[in-house]
């Protein structure tokens, strides 16, 4: 699609190198509401399914990483072990805002790279119920006497007085800043992103919502934070996803039919916010994504134009648009033209969020970064059913959590 800092010629995967890391098994639950199950049920269900998918058992795992944001600090990993198998292996409970799931994957990846594990299980799960908007909340109890508190000496919550802290608003501002800098980007371009993702979700049986909307319906739905309308925002929901990773060395000894379905992790990158002037007052979702993408492309020896599909973090429509540019999928500044041209639609040149994305597939926070790796894996295996991108060989999964953390994984189809 465009230039990259590290455009390298594609080398087809010919063999399994010993120090490579692969996805052996993958699963995600249907995203939605699970009122009769707890987060451990969701995590257990998807972990067992991912193990089954890889034709291995919990007793084969050398490490476990578990991610959840809302239940951080409750030892989800160990609670999961108690339900599916207590084998004594190291457990890492991790959080990184909306990049929590990707961080769980990375932790298992590190353990394998470090030579401490041949196989490991990464699980992300969240139970959000109907918590409403992700937003800064005011204290319910009114203070009777103003007293400066915290790092800004604030006498009350600042949300709404000094700009917004609500997520639809924060990401709206990120999009509007891009619009400010680049002509041809406006409300309609943002709305088209949501149009595309709702349309894509109709093919995904695991998506929380599977209803297509017209561009007009999207633009006319209630404004949350201009330009993000309700249909341009991800819903809250419950869900979980899991992947089993394996070292190349160990994969070599697996049966042919298991090897055939393994997917190579050509790059696994995690970044945080580098200092930028403006990020001191508003989250900068772009710079760390650009840094992660550059490192991922360089590591994988893959250029954006090599990507057969991308799952990126469209928590809000405004976010997806700027990530076209951040991930180098379009010309610099050309995200408006990119969506207008139809490129990120499933029949376009670089299909983006064919799962329906966070906007329609859903966004159970801890699960998201694992679920997008599941999605890419499923396409590279040619097992994505009605939503399959035909002949997909290389895909990229991107996730970003405010605070900030960005995870990028580049995955490649095995040729073994």
């Amino acid at each position: 699609m465009s230039q990259t800092q590290s455009s390298t010629s594609r080398k087809p995967v010919r063999k399994i190198s010993s120090d490579s890391v692969w996805v052996l098994g993958a699963d995600m639950t249907h995203f939605g509401r699970y009122e009769d199950q707890d987060i451990v049920d969701l995590a257990a269900q998807t972990a067992l399914a991912a193990l089954d998918d890889g034709n291995v058992s919990i007793h084969d795992m050398d490490v476990l990483a578990a991610g959840t944001l809302l239940k951080a600090g409750t030892s989800l990993g160990q609670r999961l072990q108690k339900q599916i198998g207590q084998t004594g292996i190291p457990v890492y409970n991790v959080t990184n805002a909306c990049a929590t799931g990707a961080t769980a994957i990375r932790t298992v990846y590190l353990a394998i790279k470090a030579g401490e594990a041949d196989m490991g299980l990464a699980v992300g799960a969240e139970q959000m119920g109907k918590m409403g908007l992700l937003a800064g909340a005011h204290s319910s109890k009114e203070k009777s006497v103003y007293e400066p508190k915290g790092r800004y000496g604030a006498v009350t919550s600042l949300d709404g007085y000094l700009g917004t802290e609500t997520m639809p608003g924060v990401f709206a501002q990120a999009g509007m800043e891009y619009a400010n800098e680049h002509p041809g980007v406006g409300f309609e371009q943002f709305a088209k992103v949501a149009y595309k993702n709702h349309l894509h979700s109709t093919r995904n049986p695991l998506a929380q919502y599977r209803k297509a909307f017209s561009l007009d319906e999207i633009m006319q739905s209630p404004t949350m934070s201009y330009p993000n309308t309700l249909l341009m925002c991800c819903p809250t929901g419950d869900g979980a996803a899991a992947v089993v990773l394996i070292s190349g060395e160990r994969l070599k000894s697996m049966p042919q039919d298991v090897r055939r379905r393994a997917v190579k992790i050509s790059a696994s990158v995690l970044t945080s916010d580098p200092y930028t002037e403006s990020s001191q007052v508003q989250p900068d979702v772009s710079t760390l994504t650009r840094n992660a993408a550059a490192l991922a492309y360089e590591t994988a020896g893959v250029a954006p134009e090599d990507l057969d599909l991308v799952e990126l973090h469209d928590c809000f429509a405004t976010a997806e648009l700027i990530h076209y540019d951040n991930l180098g999928l379009c010309e610099q500044g050309g995200a408006g033209d990119f969506i207008d041209s139809g490129a990120p639609f499933r029949d376009g040149s670089t299909p983006v969020n064919v799962s329906g994305g966070l906007i329609s597939k859903g966004h159970p926070i801890g699960a998201t970064g694992v679920a997008n790796v599941y999605e890419i894996t499923t396409h590279l295996r040619g097992e994505a059913g009605e939503r399959q991108i035909a002949g997909a060989k290389v895909g990229l999964a991107h996730v970003i959590g405010l605070g900030s953390a960005c995870g990028v994984h580049v995955l490649e189809k095995a040729a073994v």
Binding site: G153, G160, Y226, N228
Partner: protein, 135 residues
């Protein structure tokens, strides 16, 4: 007999309610990075010395959103914004005294800092916030 003026307190400690209200930042003496919060060290260079610097009141609109679904107790819709002051500092605030309408709020529009009362506590002390209005 003299009437005491209503006591006031700034919403945040980086708002100075002088005759000419303005913002002050902590500026790193090494690299010049500016911060509005209490600091342990500099996010850019890592060094640990700061001086207080006043921030210019003139600004332009760098980005905005019109918030319709706001936190409880916050009148909506309102214009949330990121502005760049004349001396190049980024500030997050509301745009006030301006119709919350995307056809009226223009990216790049010139703005000026202003202050307004957001309420009073049980002792009668008023909290004073700042915002930026079209200039």
């Amino acid at each position: 007999m003299q009437i005491d003026p209503t006591p006031q307190i700034p919403l945040v400690d980086y708002l100075r309610l002088d005759k000419q209200p303005h913002l002050v930042a902590n500026e790193c003496t090494n690299c010049g990075a500016r911060f509005f919060d209490r600091r342990n060290a500099c996010a850019q260079c890592g060094l640990r010395q700061f001086t207080k610097v006043p921030i210019r009141n003139e600004a332009k609109l760098k980005s905005f959103t019109i918030v319709h679904r706001a936190a409880p107790g916050i009148p909506a819709p309102f214009v949330s914004a990121v502005v760049e002051t004349k001396d190049g500092t980024t500030v997050r605030a509301n745009v006030v005294n301006c119709d919350p309408n995307p056809d009226v709020v223009r990216l790049g529009m010139p703005l000026q800092l202003t202050t307004y009362c957001i309420g009073a506590d049980d002792d009668g002390t008023e909290a004073v916030a700042f915002g930026y209005q079209p200039s």
